[in-house]
């Protein structure tokens, strides 16, 4: 299948109930916070990790859908596979001299790895496959309203070390956000898709992973997370028909009752200005 020929932007709304959507290593794993506004944050790489995990889960070992930045993955071994497939000797830290051979390596990586095709990858490790800029770009997600992280102390009725045996139990900490609705923005460039071969099928897989990724990322820390809405702006041309920021402004999320703290998705209303949609752009609600 050929590469996609339309530019897209998307708005992803997801929420968390009594969980920690993305811990901040700088703040003892407290949920990430924007220090100026107290809005919660989820980093772009956190969301991309979940997309990769979902694709790995759905596609398994299907050819063409391997994940390069896999957990428990072997980065340079992946490069080595490309060299082997193209029968090339690896030269440390250098791209193969002939442009054709270097292109062949990059093509092979794009063809075999979903995340290289989608997000790109810098493959300038010692076994060098060059650098790929992927068509899909995501920004930080931030919560609609300020969040209030809670700290819950918990106990464990066991100890790790024998010398602590008389203590009988240990205490730990959990950080959680009672409720937070987060909004993330994404961009898909048709022109970069052309270079990596990101196809219509890949795009459908991306939409599926964005809607389902939290369903397969359950853990003690996360609480209940779910994708609530995925709104996709499709431009009729490859370069686009309207500025991205103007499209994002068409979607307005507000609290139903500003007095009471929000505790569920139903406390929010998503207004979509369908009538202000610029010419040449269509809006698809994937969820």
């Amino acid at each position: 299948m050929g590469a996609i020929t339309n530019r897209y932007e998307f708005v992803l709304l997801f929420d968390v109930i009594k969980g920690n959507p993305n811990g901040d290593p700088d703040a003892g794993n407290l949920p990430r916070l924007d220090p100026e506004t107290n809005q919660g944050l989820v980093s772009d790489v956190s969301l991309k990790r979940k997309v990769r995990n979902y694709v790995e889960l759905e596609k398994g070992s299907e050819t063409g859908f391997a994940i390069y930045m896999a957990e428990k993955a072997i980065l340079n071994a992946q490069h080595a596979k490309a060299y082997k497939a193209e029968n090339l000797e690896s030269v440390a830290k250098k791209l193969p001299k002939e442009k054709e051979k270097a292109d062949a390596l990059t093509r092979w990586m794009c063809a075999n790895f979903f995340d290289v095709r989608c997000f790109g990858a810098v493959m300038t490790t010692e076994v060098n496959c060059g650098q790929v800029r992927g068509p899909v770009q995501m920004g930080f997600a931030s919560s609609i309203d300020p969040i209030v992280p809670l700290e819950a102390s918990i106990t464990r009725m066991a100890v790790t070390n024998e010398k602590d045996a008389e203590k009988e139990r240990t205490m730990g900490r959990k950080h959680l956000v009672p409720y937070g609705l987060y909004r993330a923005h994404g961009f898909i460039s048709a022109k970069l898709a052309e270079r990596t071969g990101f196809s219509g099928e890949d795009l459908e897989l991306l939409w599926r992973s964005l809607t389902n990724m939290f369903e397969h990322d359950r853990s003690a820390a996360r609480g209940e997370m779910a994708t609530r809405k995925l709104l996709v702006f499709k431009h009729s041309s490859a370069l686009g028909n309207a500025p991205a920021h103007r499209l994002f402004d068409l979607i307005h999320v507000r609290r139903r009752n500003a007095e009471a703290p929000a505790r569920q998705y139903a406390d929010y209303v998503v207004d979509i200005a369908h009538d202000k949609l610029p010419e040449g752009v269509s809006l698809e609600e994937k969820l």
Partner: protein, 224 residues
Amino acid sequence: MAYGIRLRVWGDRACFTRPELKVERVSYDVITPSAARGILEAIHWKPAIRWRIDRLHVLKPIRFESIRRNEVEEKLSASNVAKAMKAGSTRAAKLYVEDIRQQRAATVLRDVDYVIEAHFDLTARATEDDNAGKHLDMFNRRARQGQCFHMPCLGTREFPASFALLEQDAPLPAPADELAGERDLGWMLLDIDHAHGMTPRFFRARMHHGAIDVPPWDSEEVRA
């Protein structure tokens, strides 16, 4: 400067990494000419033209924020890989993402807004079809309609840049009051000289009421 353009770019966050502080990234105070060129190229570029940044206008106060993330640190000796390749097995070349995790902080800019003043020169690769007016029209048309080759970013790709063309007759937005007066921003990266083995070239950036004049590429004040 017959072929000048002015583009306004803004965003929530930006990271124009200082080359001397790139492990735990620290951003320059303002956008670099090199990052500004990248933004223009994301909208329109052909090998026939080369963008030159003339002036940068800073409109909002300079503020920072720190973000720490899990990143990967790659490194595996080439000999190990060569061995693995010879053996036809990936066993000897293991590198687990969990094991090569690095937590890195980035000191990034918050809430930025700039105006980029630039023009372009035709390069040696320009053919007879490449007249400057055509490229200028293409850039203006795309920027006006929000079209781009790929979404431009403010230093790194996780910080997308919103952009709008500032029309020729539109007034320049006023910078924030805090930016009044002179400010010496120190030595700043101008751009990378790709023609000469990727040599970085620096200039002394001085901000005057939010405006930074960027010296021409080959001028005296630019040092490699």
